[in-house]
């Protein structure tokens, strides 16, 4: 388990000192996080990292999980799909199951926090309890909310409106709401296996294990096998590049084993790659963080040619390794890449190929973009910034002004 002082060597003592100063202002507050699962999934992962670090900073932060049966989680899975814009039929009975489970949780849970931070839609309706309490309530939405199904959003909105504030991960996710909406971007942990420094030996060991030769420049896209990540467009762009520069393409992703559509996309990608020995399509097992880290570090150019994207943290991961990145200007990617400063933004297959060629032909330019990208991530997308913004969010709940003297 990392301690806050472990980050000092990466972000500097001044950043850690500022965190400590802000944390002191929350000395007498209890922060209660509530989500729907203690293991698995991105939110549990974030809370698993952040709760101990906030405690280490002296902020009394705790974490509770709602209880629900199989039916409840089937319903919330439907909600999740509908909020991501997929057409999903939600019946009257589904809503009843959701509300009934919420009621049971309201009766059984203890709401002891001065600030109650509810994560994602599953526990959103717990806010019905708010009128009996003095606490401040914040709804933290982690999911891609660009095109939510209107019906389910109308239903959830009636609860979201009862909060003191909401938090979204990207500007496009925000919705017209009568409550305050804050922007807190996700972050990467520079000490995790996916992002920590690796020695050349560690990188080579992983590449040997995966049977990847480093004899020519490697272009990589790390993403799950999903049409929205446009793996076919990546292969087309690679083939255009290959006409002029000898290089290798790696398409690697994990987490698709229990996803029937993922399997299908993987097979289609393998077919599209054909017999080309320079295209490697790798289905990585879960917990392949070290492998992903090594693949990114061994690459000359990293792609994220998504057609749609939530935040797209794989871009931050690549930039943190000072790699030049060519990515689509969708979702949260433009927040991470400023075109021609900290990476390149593309819109088409041809554009992607053009930028890859530029980067391979101009290593100094590629290095500069990568270094700028790393500085940008260090300043804006590491876990320490995320912690700072949470602390400021908690403090802002008592303030209405735009300039606050602490």
């Amino acid at each position: 388990m990392s301690r806050i002082s472990d980050y000092e060597s990466i972000v500097g003592a001044d950043v850690i000192n500022e965190l400590r100063m802000v944390a002191r202002k929350l000395k007498n507050k209890v922060i209660q996080n509530i989500n729907s699962t203690s293991v698995g999934g991105g939110v549990a992962e974030i809370l698993g990292r952040m709760v101990p670090l906030l405690q280490d900073l002296g902020v009394d932060t705790r974490w509770d999980v709602v209880k629900g049966g199989e039916k409840y989680f089937q319903v919330t899975k439907k909600f999740h799909n509908a909020l991501h814009g997929r057409k999903t039929e939600i019946t009257r009975e589904d809503y009843d199951i959701f509300l009934e489970t919420t009621k049971t949780n309201i009766e059984q849970m203890e709401f002891y926090g001065d600030i109650i931070l509810i994560h994602d839609p599953q526990p959103v309706a717990l806010v019905e309890k708010r009128k009996f309490l003095k606490s401040r309530w914040v709804w933290r939405c982690h999911i891609d909310f660009t095109y939510p199904d209107p019906e389910i959003w109308e239903f959830l909105k009636s609860f979201v409106e009862q909060y003191d504030a909401s938090v979204f991960s990207a500007p496009a996710f925000a919705r017209p709401l009568p409550i305050r909406q804050f922007l807190i971007s996700p972050s990467i942990d520079p000490l995790s296996d996916k992002n920590r420094d690796l020695s050349e030996e560690e990188i080579n060991n992983v590449l040997d294990k995966l049977q990847i030769n480093r004899d020519k420049p490697i272009i990589t896209q790390i993403s799950r096998f999903d049409y929205l990540k446009d793996p076919f467009g990546v292969i087309e762009a690679f083939r255009l590049v290959k006409k002029y520069v000898d290089c290798r393409l790696i398409l690697a992703g994990g987490g698709a084993i229990d996803d029937p559509e993922g399997q299908k996309v993987f097979q289609e990608v393998v077919e599209k790659a054909g017999n080309d020995p320079d295209i490697l399509v790798l289905l990585l097992p879960p917990a392949s963080d070290l492998e992903i880290n090594a693949l990114q570090r061994a690459s000359s150019v990293i792609l994220q040619k998504s057609l749609r994207e939530g935040f797209g943290l794989t871009v931050a991961e690549a930039l943190w390794k000072a790699k030049p990145v060519v990515a689509s200007a969708v979702g949260g990617i433009p927040l991470q890449i400023t075109h021609k400063y900290s990476g390149l933004l593309s819109h088409t297959v041809q554009g992607t190929a053009y930028w890859i060629r530029q980067l391979l032909h101009s290593p100094e330019y590629a290095t500069r973009l990568g270094e700028n990208g790393k500085a940008h991530i260090k300043q804006n997308f590491l876990l320490t910034r995320h912690l700072r913004e949470y602390l400021l969010l908690f403090l802002s709940l008592e303030e209405k002004e735009d300039i606050i003297y602490l």
Partner: protein
């Protein structure tokens, strides 16, 4: 770097270094074209204009040269109007001592351009809308205090870039003090008129924060007997 002790003027009131931290609030407002941009710019609070003219600077403190403000970036790269983008990017932020006057200048620049080029009303592609944010600023004291130039120099080495940012930018424009905090203190408390003028002459918008720290260091060190720059 080492220094010999010299006789330095002690300030009547010490300089307390502050720092500032930001949180971004979404306004829910977005523009698809220049006319919508201007209309929303007219009605939003000053902290929104401040955000979009300084957020690049805050997010890219290590980059050089500094990229332009958000409005210029959007007009250049999303609306693809390079001429107007350049005009907005080249507005000299140092000239403005209030957000209000800065806002008026940007609006005037866009409106003039629209009047001259009415056919150029381009619409942002889907997903490329300009989202208006505002900056909530938290100001807090740091442990660093200086009573003379030597202590001031030591603190300049140690404070965070956020603290430099606060005293050089935020104090002048957002808190509308008219000048940066460093110049005011060295002149009022230490009688260092020349140093105050030199610091005020630095164009903070064209330095990286670390570059600005180095420039401040050189200017202050020059005024300390025996200090090796």
């Amino acid at each position: 770097m080492h220094k010999k002790t010299g006789h330095l003027v002690k300030a009547k009131e010490p300089f307390r270094f502050y720092t500032r931290l930001n949180l971004i609030e979404l306004t829910g407002k977005k523009a698809n074209n220049l006319r919508e941009l201007v209309e929303i710019m007219k009605e939003v609070p000053g902290s929104v204009i401040y955000h979009h003219t300084h957020h690049y600077l805050q997010q890219h403190l290590y980059l050089s040269p500094e990229p332009p403000n958000d409005f210029a970036y959007w007009v250049t790269y999303i609306l693809r109007d390079e001429e107007l983008g350049e005009e907005i990017a080249s507005i000299d932020l140092c000239e403005f001592s209030t957000i209000r006057s800065l806002r008026e200048k940007i609006i005037e620049t866009i409106e003039q351009h629209l009047a001259q080029n009415p056919e150029l009303l381009r619409t942002a592609p889907p997903g490329g809308e300009f989202h208006f944010f505002k900056t909530i600023t938290f100001i807090l004291p740091t442990p660093y205090v200086a009573s003379d130039l030597s202590e001031f120099l030591e603190a300049i080495k140690k404070i965070s870039i956020h603290s430099i940012y606060f005293h050089m930018f935020e104090a002048k424009l957002r808190l509308e003090k008219g000048e940066n905090d460093f110049s005011r203190w060295v002149e009022d408390m230490l009688g260092e008129k020349e140093l105050a003028r030199d610091i005020a002459r630095l164009d903070p918008y064209t330095f990286t924060m670390e570059g600005l720290r180095a420039a401040l260091f050189r200017l202050i060190a020059k005024r300390i007997p025996g200090e090796i720059i």
